[in-house]
C-alpha cells in the first residue's frame, strides 16, 4: 500500500513538472474548437468514471452499512431513509447525466449558434412544484416519525436508565424498584466513596437505584420493553450514539436530556441476522489477515460529540436479553444503598 502511495506522489509530481515546463512554450489561452471537443469528450469519460464509482459504492459498500434497525421505533427511520435514498439516487443519476451529457453534446463549434432561451414560466413552474410536492411527502412522513420517536409521554412501564457521560467513560444507573431515579448533581460526587455519578443519597428515590460497575460496564436492556434514557454529563458535551438502535442524544452539563426506544432483537438474535453475519464475515477476514482475534457482534454505545483527547475510545457495550434474563441479571445487581453503605 505504501509503495503505491509513493508511486502515486511521484507520478503526480512528475505530471506537475512536465506541465509546468510546458507552460513556457504553450501560449494558447482561450478554448478553441479543438479544446471544446477534447474537453467535451473528457466529460463523457468522467461520466463513465463517476457512474462506475457510484454504482460500485452502492453495490459493494452495501455490506458495510449498519444492519436493520434493532429498535421498533427505528423501523420507520429505515423506511424513511430508504424512500429518501431511492429518491435522491434517482434524481442524482438523472441530473448528473444531464449536466455532463450537455457539456459534451453542446461543446462549442465556430459554426454553431446557441439558442436564445431566456425564460419559460411553464418549465420553472414544473421544477418548483414537483420538488415542493415531493418534499411535502418527505416532510410529512419525517415529522410524523420524529414525533413518534421523541414523544415519550405515553410509554407504559418503561425501563428508566440514566446514562452518565464524563471524559472518557460512560456510566449507567437503573431506576430501581420504584422506577424513579434519585436526584443527581455534580455537587454530590464523592469519588472516595464511589459516588461517581453524583447521586444525592438523601433522596428517597436514590437508595434502590442500581449502578453499573465502573470497570468495563455492560448495559443490559430487556427485549420488547420501552427503555427511556436520561442523559447527563459532568464535564463537557458528549453524545450518546447507539447506531444499531437509530438512537442518539447529546449529554449536556447542567441539564437532563432524554431519548427512548424499544429493543427489538436480543444480542443473540442479532448475531445470526443475515446482514450482521455478512458484515461480521468481512470484518473477520480483515482481522484474520492482521492476526487479530475474531470479532463477535455486540450492540454499542459510543461518544459522537468531540469531547477531548480520548473521544475516539469512549464506549460501552450494550447487551439486549429476554425479559426473564434481564430480571435475573437485574436482581443480582446491588442497590446504591447497599453499595455506598459498604464503603
Amino acid at each position: 500500500m505504501l509503495a503505491l502511495f509513493y508511486i502515486f506522489i511521484a507520478v503526480a509530481i512528475g505530471v506537475s513538472f512536465w506541465q509546468i515546463t510546458r507552460i513556457l512554450n504553450l501560449r494558447s489561452v482561450i478554448a478553441t474548437d479543438k479544446d471544446n471537443d477534447t474537453q467535451g469528450k473528457l466529460f463523457l469519460w468522467f461520466t463513465a468514471f463517476f457512474y462506475a464509482m457510484m454504482i460500485y459504492c452502492l453495490i459493494y459498500m452495501n455490506v458495510l452499512m449498519l444492519p436493520e434497525s434493532a429498535s421498533i421505533e427505528g423501523e420507520h427511520d429505515d423506511n424513511l431513509f430508504n424512500i429518501t435514498f431511492i429518491l435522491i439516487g434517482v434524481v442524482q443519476f438523472i441530473m448528473q447525466f444531464l449536466i455532463f451529457y450537455f457539456a459534451y453534446k453542446y461543446r462549442g463549434k465556430k459554426e454553431n449558434k446557441a439558442l436564445f432561451f431566456a425564460d419559460s414560466h411553464k418549465l420553472e413552474a414544473i421544477w418548483t412544484i414537483v420538488p415542493a410536492v415531493v418534499l411535502v411527502v418527505l416532510i410529512g412522513y419525517g415529522l410524523w416519525q420524529w414525533n413518534n420517536i421523541m414523544d415519550l409521554s405515553d410509554s407504559e412501564d418503561p425501563v428508566i436508565i440514566e446514562v452518565y457521560a464524563k471524559q472518557f467513560q460512560w456510566e449507567a444507573r437503573y431506576a430501581g424498584d420504584d422506577n424513579t431515579l434519585g436526584r443527581g448533581n455534580v455537587n454530590y460526587i464523592d469519588i472516595s466513596n464511589n459516588n461517581t455519578m453524583g447521586v444525592d443519597m438523601s433522596d428517597v428515590n436514590s437508595k434502590d437505584d442500581k449502578k453499573l460497575s465502573a470497570i468495563s460496564p455492560v448495559m443490559y436492556l430487556p427485549k420488547g420493553r420501552k427503555v427511556i434514557f436520561k442523559f447527563r454529563s459532568q464535564d463537557v458535551l458528549h453524545s450518546a450514539y447507539m447506531p444499531h438502535f437509530r438512537a442518539q442524544m447529546n449529554c449536556v452539563p447542567g441539564m437532563v436530556t432524554e431519548f427512548g426506544f424499544t429493543p427489538k432483537f436480543t444480542t443473540e438474535e442479532m448475531r445470526v441476522q443475515s446482514e450482521v453475519v455478512a458484515k461480521t464475515a468481512v470484518i473477520n477476514e480483515i482481522r484474520k489477515k492482521k492476526g487479530e482475534d475474531p470479532y463477535e457482534f455486540d450492540y454499542i454505545l459510543l461518544c459522537n460529540k468531540i469531547c477531548g483527547a480520548s473521544h475516539f475510545n469512549m464506549q460501552m457495550k450494550i447487551v439486549v436479553v429476554e425479559q426473564e434474563e434481564f430480571n435475573k441479571w437485574y436482581a443480582e445487581q446491588p442497590t446504591l444503598g447497599q453499595e455506598l453503605a459498604i464503603k
Partner: protein, 589 residues
C-alpha cells in the same frame, strides 16, 4: 475621486491601497496562503486516519512536540481538524472568496469608480490580515491551537482542563475571529452601500449580473448573522476569562466542582449556528453567482430564468436565517423546535432545485466554450447537486438522529459547500484573472487542474457517505478501538490517496497562478467576449476604472446569441455589451 491624479507611492499603491482592485488581489493572495495551510493540515490528518499507527517523517517535521516518533498526538489531531475547518470556512471561503470577488467585481460590474468607502475597504482587508496572522500565531503556542472543533462548543472550548487547546490557543482563536467578524462586517456594509448607491446610469437592479445579486444578498446575510457570532464569542470570552456562566453549569472536572451555575451550552449552539448556517450560504452564494456569470458567458446563452434565479437567491437567503436549528436536532432542545426546523430546512431544497435546473437548462443547446473557468463552473453544478441531495437526509430530524456527526455529514457539507465553493472560487480566478493582472492563465494547466481536482473531490467525498452510513463518527483520532469499523479501514486509505492527489493537483494551480502573473500572455480587453461592464475598462488598471465618463447601461447582462427574425445576430456578434443601446425595434429581454 479626489485622489485621481495624486502620485502613488509604493506604500499607497501596493500595501495600504484604497483601490478596490488592489484590495481584491490582497484578499485573494492572503486567502491562497491560508488555503495552503488549511489544505496541508487536511493532508496531515488524512495520513493519520488512513494509517493510524504509521510513522511519517512529514508529521515529525511539522508537528514538533505534538507528535511521538512521527505519529501525531490525539490532541493535535483534533487541533488540525479544528483549524482546518476554521481556515477553510472563514479565511478561504468567506474572506478569500467574497473579499476577492466582491471587491473586484462590484465597482466594475455596476459601473462605479470604486467602493463607497475606499478607506473602510482598506480597513476591512487589514483587519482580515491581522486576524489571519493571529490565527497562524495560534498554531505555535505551546499547548497547541484551539482543538474543540471549528464549532468550538463549550464547555470543551471553555475549559483548558478538558483539552489543552482550550488555553491560550482558544483565546487567540476567539480574538482572531472577533477581528475577522469586524473585517467581514465592514466589508459587507461597504458592498451593500456601493450596490445601492453607486450604480451607473441605466444599471437598474434588474439589469445587474447575477454575480452582483449574489454578492449583494451575501453581504446582507453577513450583516445579519456575523454580529451574532461576535456576541457568542464575547460571552465565551467572559466565561473563560471573567468567571461568568453564560454557557457553563454543573461541571466537575479534574477532581473538583467548578463554580459555574445556570448557563447552558445549548445557548451557545443557538448563537453559533445562527451565524453558522447562514455562513454556508455566505460561502456558497458568491460561488453560485460567479458560476451563473461564467456559465452564461461560456454557453453563449442568457442565463435561464434570470428572475427566478434572483428569487431563489432571496429565498435561500431568507430561509438560511431560520434553519439553524437543524444542526441541533439532538442537542437536547425541545423536540417541537426540531419539527419546525425540519420544515424550514427542507424548504430550502425548492429554491436550490430551481437553481440547479436553471443551470442545466442554460447549458442546453448552448455553444459551450469549455474554458477552464467553464469546466470549474460545470463541476460546481455537479458537486452542488450531489452534496445538496443528501441534505434531504440530514435536514429530516428523524433521519438526522442516526447520521448526525458521522462521516455522512462530513461528506455532505464538504461537497455542497466546501468543494462547490472552492470550484466556484477557482472558476472566478480563471475567468477574472485577465481583469486582475492583465495576463491570461495557462489553459492546459487549467484543464489538468480541473480534472485532477474533480476526480479527487469525488474520490474523497463520495465513498465517505458510505462510511458515515456504517455509523463511523467524525473527529475520531483512530477507528481501531471499534472492531465494527475494521471494514472501513481500506476505504479510508483510498480516500486519503485521493485526498493527496487532490492536494497535489492544487500545486498546478499555484504554479499557473504565480507564473502567469509574471509570464502569462497579455490579455485582451474582453477575452471571453462577455457582456458585462468590467470588460469595457482598460486592461491596464487605472484609479477610477474608466478613463473618461462612466459608461451608461442600456440592457441586462445576458444578451448572448440574440438573433433577429432572420436568425442573424442582432448586433453582428454573439454577445452584446451592456453599454450597447437597443436597436430600433429590438425587444429588451
Amino acid at each position: 475621486m479626489s485622489d485621481h491624479h495624486h502620485k502613488e507611492t509604493f506604500v499607497t499603491k501596493y500595501i495600504f491601497s484604497q483601490d478596490h482592485k488592489m484590495i481584491s488581489k490582497q484578499f485573494l493572495i492572503t486567502g491562497i496562503f491560508m488555503g495552503i495551510i488549511g489544505v496541508f493540515m487536511s493532508m496531515l490528518f488524512r495520513l493519520q486516519i488512513a494509517w493510524p499507527e504509521k510513522s511519517f517523517t512529514i508529521i515529525e517535521a511539522f508537528l514538533g512536540s505534538h507528535q511521538t516518533d512521527g505519529v501525531m498526538d490525539p490532541d493535535m489531531y483534533l487541533a488540525l481538524v479544528t483549524i482546518h475547518g476554521t481556515i477553510m470556512v472563514f479565511f478561504v471561503l468567506t474572506a478569500g472568496l467574497s473579499g476577492t470577488f466582491s471587491n473586484l467585481l462590484i465597482p466594475l460590474q455596476i459601473g462605479a469608480r470604486d467602493m463607497a468607502s475606499g478607506f473602510l475597504n482598506m480597513l476591512s482587508y487589514w483587519l482580515f490580515f491581522i486576524s489571519s496572522i493571529i490565527m497562524v500565531i495560534s498554531l505555535f503556542v505551546e499547548a497547541g491551537p484551539a482543538s474543540a472543533g471549528w464549532t468550538i462548543y463549550p464547555p470543551l472550548s471553555a475549559l483548558p482542563e478538558a483539552i489543552p487547546g482550550s488555553g491560550l490557543g482558544m483565546t487567540l482563536w476567539l480574538v482572531s475571529m472577533a477581528i475577522f467578524v469586524a473585517s467581514s462586517l465592514i466589508g459587507s456594509l461597504n458592498y451593500i452601500v456601493t450596490i445601492f448607491n453607486l450604480r451607473t446610469k441605466g444599471m437598474k437592479m434588474t439589469r445587474m449580473p447575477l454575480t452582483m445579486w449574489a454578492f449583494f444578498i451575501t453581504a446582507i446575510i453577513g450583516v445579519v448573522s456575523f454580529p451574532v457570532l461576535l456576541s457568542a464569542a464575547l460571552l465565551l470570552i467572559f466565561d473563560r476569562s471573567f468567571g461568568t456562566s453564560f454557557y457553563l453549569s454543573d461541571i466537575f472536572i479534574s477532581g473538583e466542582v467548578l463554580h459555574y451555575q445556570g448557563g447552558s451550552p445549548v445557548l451557545f449552539e443557538h448563537l453559533f449556528w445562527f451565524l453558522g448556517h447562514p455562513e454556508v450560504y455566505i460561502v456558497l452564494l458568491p460561488a453560485l453567482g460567479i458560476t451563473s456569470e461564467i456559465i452564461a458567458t461560456n454557453s453563449r446563452k442568457p442565463i435561464f430564468g434570470y428572475r427566478a434565479m434572483i428569487g431563489s437567491i432571496m429565498a435561500i437567503a431568507f430561509l438560511s436565517t431560520i434553519v439553524w436549528g437543524h444542526h441541533m436536532f439532538i442537542s437536547g432542545m425541545n423536540p417541537f423546535l426540531g419539527s419546525v426546523f425540519t420544515f424550514t430546512t427542507l424548504l430550502i431544497a425548492i429554491p436550490s432545485a430551481v437553481k440547479a435546473f436553471n443551470y442545466i437548462t442554460t447549458l442546453w443547446k448552448g455553444n459551450l466554450q469549455l474554458n477552464p473557468a467553464m469546466l470549474f463552473s460545470i463541476g460546481l453544478v455537479s458537486t452542488f447537486v450531489t452534496g445538496g441531495l443528501t441534505g434531504l437526509v440530514l435536514g429530516d430530524s428523524a433521519l438526522d438522529i442516526n447520521v448526525h456527526d458521522t462521516y455522512f455529514v462530513v461528506a455532505h457539507f464538504h461537497l455542497v459547500m466546501g468543494v462547490s465553493a472552492i470550484l466556484g472560487m477557482f472558476a472566478g480566478v480563471y475567468h477574472w484573472f485577465p481583469k486582475m493582472y492583465g495576463k491570461m492563465m495557462n489553459k492546459a494547466l487549467g484543464y489538468w487542474h480541473f480534472w485532477l481536482t474533480m476526480v479527487a473531490a469525488y474520490g474523497v467525498f463520495f465513498p465517505m457517505h458510505f462510511i458515515g452510513l456504517a455509523g463511523l463518527p467524525r473527529r475520531y483520532y483512530n477507528n481501531t478501538s471499534f472492531p465494527m469499523f475494521d471494514d472501513v479501514a481500506d476505504i479510508n486509505v483510498v480516500i486519503t490517496l485521493f485526498a493527496i492527489l487532490g492536494g497535489l493537483a492544487q500545486l498546478l494551480f499555484l504554479a499557473n497562478f504565480f507564473i502567469s502573473i509574471y509570464r502569462g500572455k497579455a490579455a485582451s480587453q474582453n477575452p471571453w467576449k462577455s457582456n458585462t461592464l468590467e470588460w469595457t475598462t482598460p486592461v491596464e488598471h487605472i484609479h477610477g476604472n474608466w478613463p473618461g465618463k462612466i459608461p451608461e447601461v442600456h440592457r441586462w447582462a445576458y444578451d448572448y446569441s440574440k438573433v433577429d427574425e432572420n436568425g442573424d445576430y442582432i448586433h453582428g456578434e454573439d454577445f452584446v455589451l451592456q453599454t450597447t443601446p437597443l436597436k430600433d425595434g429590438e425587444d429588451p429581454s
